[in-house]
Symmetry: C2
């Protein structure tokens, strides 16, 4: 079975679809656990699974490698289904990969980009990298099962169109789907980077009916929300836009027009701005030296200065963490998540930043909400954006009739 | 079929259960819409419905009153199933009612109470009022299908036990279920008042897959959340505890130990406290007169003074609205609800209060989140607490195997 037959997925029954999706989420599930999750008897599950193996949709895990006579119990999506193309577009970076249907990254390419150059040149590079990856594995465009792509800005999920993306001039309303349709006869799914990150965490955790959120802190601050094991998008698809939550009524003015937004006070540019001001005011000889040497100070410089014991750098990092924690405390009181995952460039600020966030959340949230809460960096790793984009693509295929 | 046969509900099929629940939520559904919601063909739906009518679970709407030959198309839960007992316990009021399975309030009794007297005396009154209502309709205890009860404090939903209820000393861990089991052989469901209010709104709106929340502002501030058409409780059942969200880092100290919580700055006691201070400082002759005459000022006094044009009263109301709006703006950015419903005593402050909340939300939330948002008082009316408690009881019956 190749990707060309995926059109037939719309013909498979609801029961088969439920089994395939449960296998996708529960990579290491035993058959008995699989049966429990889909609510099928052992015999019904056995019949569905046998049919799906024959059709080339599922395969028995370890069956390829197995040499002995013991029957492998685990199941996975079949590698013969084709490959997923995953695209993780950041403000200044482009990562493209091919993944197996089980979200194993087969090959990946990365290069610098500038999203402000607009969709024409950036999408040309996306297509070139996908072609290069396919050629390197001896695959054709027709072997691509689906494409998933994450963008550093808001996306209307149903249409896949960027909506008012502040750092992506020229992308407003640009159809990535139409653009990729020139090259690939595969469905294309687009979402913003924080929902993609949340999907990667969800897949990593095995889609238990979890309630948590992923907060990305870099140039801006955004949030991907998981409610009952699904990405939650809100009434207008605008859920998770937490960067402009007020943390200080007397704070500085933000580009959004309001004052005291957490983004303008605690994200990467705020850290760089405060370090520069401190260097210029003579408060930190170390930062002043670096500013003179390099002409600018970036968040990694502040992190390095803090590691070297600079008290001003430590205070800047602590302030960022406390303000982000204050914002998160409100959301914890409201949403009572099981955990909060931190991602984005600023998470590399180090343990003091994380400790300040935790301190602020614990101080401002109610005992019951924080009794079991875990606040931690992502466990998915550097390829989270690619894995999330792959998950988006695979789920898109599996749920084609539901959306 | 009487309530004694409800035990048999656990024997009805998943398909029948889906039909009954869809009828419960969609009171005015045509059969074709009902079929669409449960995903059944016309013939399958017809067979299920015919069986449920024969079993006395459903009845054809208008069939009792119909005299002509035209067949009524709508369906509802059968009145022959029995009655629901609904209890709405507030800090100082007790409302008890009998409802039909379609949540029509058949009879209701109300009296003053003081929840601080503890569970013994309060529950004795609950039982007395239920008995009185049953006797008045010629019903027996066995005719009660289920009991739903709302409390003015946190409840662990699975067990129905009050957890650390700040205004309910003596109720911690008290089993309302065990207490009512002495009298009634019916399942008992308990939840906090804001979830009950959210359930009433949800039922009123017909359980479309809605995302919204209900904010109750009285002595305290709490929030009931609806996510995807279901009450959302969070990881530890603590979701919606929004009263202690920070709105002013320089604000006064709250009973929770932190400073600047929205509750200590904007709820009923804050309004009364600020009015009293203004009267004592000679800033409002009107409020000073009333304070002298009555020895105290309550939120309704402030509302009345505002209606009479007192500028100090207007400023107090406006400040409360702006702070509550500021808190809501954060939640709107995060959750992107379709609407926010306001309930509780302070909502009677009048249009200036509501306008101040709206102003604050629109100013601090992002354009996309507020494009369609509606912020309004509850449409369910004064009996919302009883209707929500009735909905909790009926859903508990319908979902007995799911929870």
């Amino acid at each position: 079975m190749t990707a060309q037959t995926v059109g037939r997925w719309s013909d498979i029954s609801a029961a088969e679809r439920a089994v395939v999706e449960a296998v996708f989420w529960g990579r290491d599930l035993s058959r008995s656990e699989l049966g429990r999750r889909v609510g099928f008897s052992k015999s019904k599950l056995g019949a569905e699974v046998a049919g799906l193996i024959t059709a080339g949709v599922l395969e028995e895990r370890g069956a390829h490698a197995s040499t002995g006579g013991r029957r492998a119990e685990g199941l996975s999506l079949s590698r013969d289904l084709g490959v997923l193309a995953a695209v993780d577009l950041g403000a200044t970076s482009l990562d493209v990969a091919l993944l197996s249907p089980t979200l194993e990254v087969l090959d990946a390419l990365t290069e610098d980009t500038d999203v402000r150059r607009g969709p024409g040149p950036v999408m040309a590079r996306v297509k070139a990298l996908v072609r290069q990856l396919l050629r390197a594995r001896g695959l054709r465009e027709g072997d691509v099962l689906a494409v998933g792509m994450g963008l550093p800005g808001p996306v209307e999920f149903q249409s896949g169109l960027p909506v008012n993306p502040p750092i992506m001039p020229g992308w407003e309303g640009f159809s990535i789907r139409d653009d990729l349709a020139e090259m690939l006869d595969a469905p294309v799914y687009v979402d913003n980077d924080v929902n993609i990150a949340a999907l990667a965490e969800l897949w990593h955790g095995g889609q238990q009916p979890q309630n948590f959120f992923v907060v990305k802190v870099g140039t801006g601050i955004g949030c991907g929300i998981v409610c009952g094991g699904e990405i939650y998008r809100g009434a207008d698809g605008a859920a998770g836009d937490v960067g402009h939550i007020l943390v200080d009524p007397l704070g500085p003015r933000c580009h959004c027009g309001n004052v005291g937004c957490v983004e303008v006070m605690a994200a990467g540019p705020a850290i760089a701005r405060e370090a520069t001001a401190a260097a210029q005011a003579g408060e930190s000889p170390l930062l002043a030296d670096w500013l003179e040497a390099n002409g600018r100070l970036d968040p990694p410089d502040v992190a390095r200065a803090a590691r070297e014991g600079d008290p001003v750098a430590n205070a800047i990092i602590q302030k960022s963490g406390l303000l982000i924690g204050q914002m998160l405390a409100s959301l914890v009181n409201f949403f009572n998540p099981s955990h909060i995952v931190l991602t984005g460039g600023v998470t590399r600020m180090g343990p003091l930043w994380l400790a300040s966030i935790r301190q602020s959340v614990y101080q401002r949230s109610l005992a019951l909400s924080t009794r079991h809460i875990e606040i931690r960096p992502s466990l998915v790793g550097d390829q989270g954006g690619l894995i999330g984009a792959g998950a988006l693509a695979m789920l898109g295929c599996l749920r084609v009739e539901r959306t």
